[in-house]
Amino acid sequence: MDTLINVAHGFGVALQPINLIYCFIGVFIGTLVGVLPGIGPISAMSLLLPITLSGTPESGIIMMAGIYYGSMYGGSTTSILVNIPGEAASVVTCIDGHQMAKQGRAGPALGIAAFGSFIAGTFALIALMLVAPKLASVAIAFGPAEYFSLMVLGVVVLTFLTQGSMAKALLMACTGVVLGLIGLDSITAQPRLTFGRIELIDGIGLVPVVMGLFGVAEVLLNTEQIIKRDIINTKITHLLPSRADWKASAGPMSRGTIMGFLLGILPGGGAVISSFASYALEKRLSKTPERFGNGAIEGVGGPEAANNAAAGGAFIPLMTLGIPPNVVMALLLGAFVIHGLQPGPLMITQNPGLFWGIVASMYIGNLMLLVLNLPLIGMWVQLLKLPYNILFPLIILFTIIGVYCSSNNVFDVYVMIAFGIIGYFMRKLGYEPAPLVLAFVLGPMLENNLRKSLILSQGDLMTFVERPISAACLLVAVVLLVGPLLPALRKKRELVALDEEA
């Protein structure tokens, strides 16, 4: 009953005209960046982070959340029609979605992707409503040791799942922690690694780092390749899937939804992993696995449901523990902090309007996305024809403006350009930026909780293993760190390892 009252309260907030407008802007921009290859939700959210300052916290966060789940919808359109993933979570959709489009079945592929996303998104929201308050009440008992161990686990899971060498991913995570420590020490107020620059006293901003590593670096990588687009030019019809399509997709969508939601909650997990996992599972369960890769609708419905459910699940650790499980949620944490809010176990009770308003807006946003992605599909197809040589200078200009507006400081533009160049070379040499960014966000919190735990326990390191939650997190982290040394687990890691850039 309490939940229903809270949901009603949330709808009261979400249905305010200004919040509806922000929600629409968020899902519209989300779909746009999902559709356009070369610009992902991270770049778009960084770009719009300063704009959230102009409204209430509810409006700003509703818009940012809309960009995230909107991009999950939009990414599938590009994958199906152009065979280029609009964002990383849609890589798998290319495999069967584009084959379906080539066979003249672009309509059902787009339809099942949109309906699968909608159903999974709705499920994730209901689960978020039910799970988050319960987890928040448990999380109140968390001390610094639990927080420290949970953050260590988050960083380790992400490094485990990052493509390529784990040593490289761990080196990146450590670099991220150090970058996060730049500025005044929170306990002694001692300046660290500021090199006498006054701009570094407050540390390096998240926006220039993310925009550089993801936005500018991505543009640099794209310019060195000739982007060929194999756009399906036939008219898109039969967007509503047939009964046979529904029958084939129902199981994969249900499994994808549950698996995606659970993987989304895990620190370090997210939409990309869940879509790959769902595809692998469906192929394994199928009686005709040879159809996968040749236009099997199950290969579209399952992963699309999984990535949207994961997007919803990822809100749980952020809202209940204040720990962002991935880079996108780290940006959302940035939006909370800009408004002077700290997500965590007390937020649901202290700020119910904000929490339930965001949840309710996501219902409304999912409905908006269904309209944006089915009847208005033609508009997005036209947009796909915009050549990259016109698009990339615009992306660069928007990133420059976005970074400048986030701080009104030219120094941040220099930081972004520097990180753009560093990010380009990192990617060329096989160093993924995702662990660096997550560790950069978690670094100061991680240090703070470690030092607090040591002070409280009077230097007794056993405090981390005597507390069951902390011990469990550290145990899983150790298994994941040592695991790749074992051939069986290394093989498993190679199967699921992926580029977690979005």
Binding site: L181, T188, T223, Q225, I396, I400, Y424, L429, R451, I455
Partner: protein, 161 residues
């Protein structure tokens, strides 16, 4: 991977250099941690976490170097093989020039040439499109930010913008 692109002891093994850079960074972080104050385990100082993170960085960098020496790795050349490597270089040079020009020239006088250069030098766009895009987009953005959002962009020594 071909023999040419997978080398063990050659100096142009990119994995080796990546590891060496990591090792140097780790060493610098350890030194910075020590210079701050380590404190004790009961009362960790400002350099405590930095120091131990630096040690971890050195350990991971050493693992990369050992792997590069024992298993080999691609050369720098092979990383850029079959790519148009000059294009990102052009973009980087344009961005560096923009960074230098932004404060003295201001947003408008630096972003319009940046747009022209990016539109013309990478995959050339027709002049008929380049000029309006390069002029209208920065002007439009400047107008929205200055007039609607009341955000002051750098106006430079000429006070334009």
């Amino acid at each position: 991977m071909s023999n040419d692109s997978d080398v063990k002891f050659r100096l142009n093994n990119s994995e080796l250099w990546g590891g060496l850079i990591g090792l140097a960074l780790g060493g610098f972080v350890i030194w910075s941690g020590l210079k701050l104050k380590l404190g004790t385990i009961n009362d960790p100082g400002a350099g405590y976490v930095m120091f131990y993170t630096g040690i971890l960085m050195c350990v991971f960098a050493a693992a990369i170097i050992i792997a590069a020496l024992s298993e080999g790795g691609p050369t720098f050349g092979s990383r850029w093989q079959n790519t148009r490597w000059t294009k990102p270089v052009i973009v980087i040079v344009c961005l560096a020039a923009f960074a230098f020009a932004l404060n003295p020239l201001g947003f408008l006088l630096s972003s319009i040439p940046l747009m022209v250069l990016l539109l013309r030098l990478v995959d050339p766009v027709r002049w008929q499109l380049t000029i309006p895009i390069a002029l209208l987009v920065p002007l439009g953005m400047w107008w929205i930010l200055k007039r609607l959002l009341l955000i002051q962009l750098p106006s430079g020594i000429f006070e334009i913008g």
